[in-house]
Point group: C2
Chain length 110, copies 2
């Protein structure tokens, strides 16, 4: 069926999964890392930077924008993207809560 049964999981579980999927592809990891590195809007050089075709990059940007992790604004003929810091922090909070679960209580039974 290929269709994830999201309805049987909690909102929190689905949210974790959705955010995780956002950087579950190296191209999106690379895009986000580049935006962080540049420290400002990136207007245009992402295609050269990443090494995928322009429509492919555009599609990955669309996904990240749809999730809210990046913001984009038209700047003349090019479009500028940058990290949406508020959403990033929100995501960090949610994922850290999951990643930082108390592991000390785990018995090494297997």
């Amino acid at each position: 069926m290929g269709l994830a049964k999201t309805e049987i999981f909690s909102d929190q579980q689905n949210e974790i999964a959705i955010f995780a999927k956002a950087f579950g592809h190296p191209a999106r990891v690379a895009i986000l890392q580049h935006l962080f590195k540049i420290n400002t809007c990136v207007c245009g050089d992402l295609v050269n930077e990443i090494g995928l075709a322009q429509p492919t990059i555009s599609q990955h940007l669309k996904e990240l924008k749809l999730l809210g992790l990046i913001k984009g604004s038209v700047e003349g003929t090019s479009v500028c993207y940058c990290i949406n810091t508020e959403k990033w922090l929100e995501m960090k909070e949610i994922l850290n809560q999951f990643l930082n679960q108390d592991i000390s209580k785990q018995g090494d039974c297997c």
Copy 2:
């Protein structure tokens, strides 16, 4: 083509993506959360706990085990699973490095 071009990305970028994909599905999030909650091996009740068919759970467990995030051992007629704490910490390290990038320098330009 549906085939991620992993070869054009760094090992680090691919590693982040692979770990992120591991909990890019709510069922795997639920499984991992349950293992954490129980604090010990889980022998058998995962199917009832999660609410997916037994082969589906088995498949998700296989993926998590392949990645090394969980360990499993045969215990009579049932199989017991638990968190692989070493691998979990390794993953946490890698993902935290990505999530905790310095966001303070990001200009709100878009």
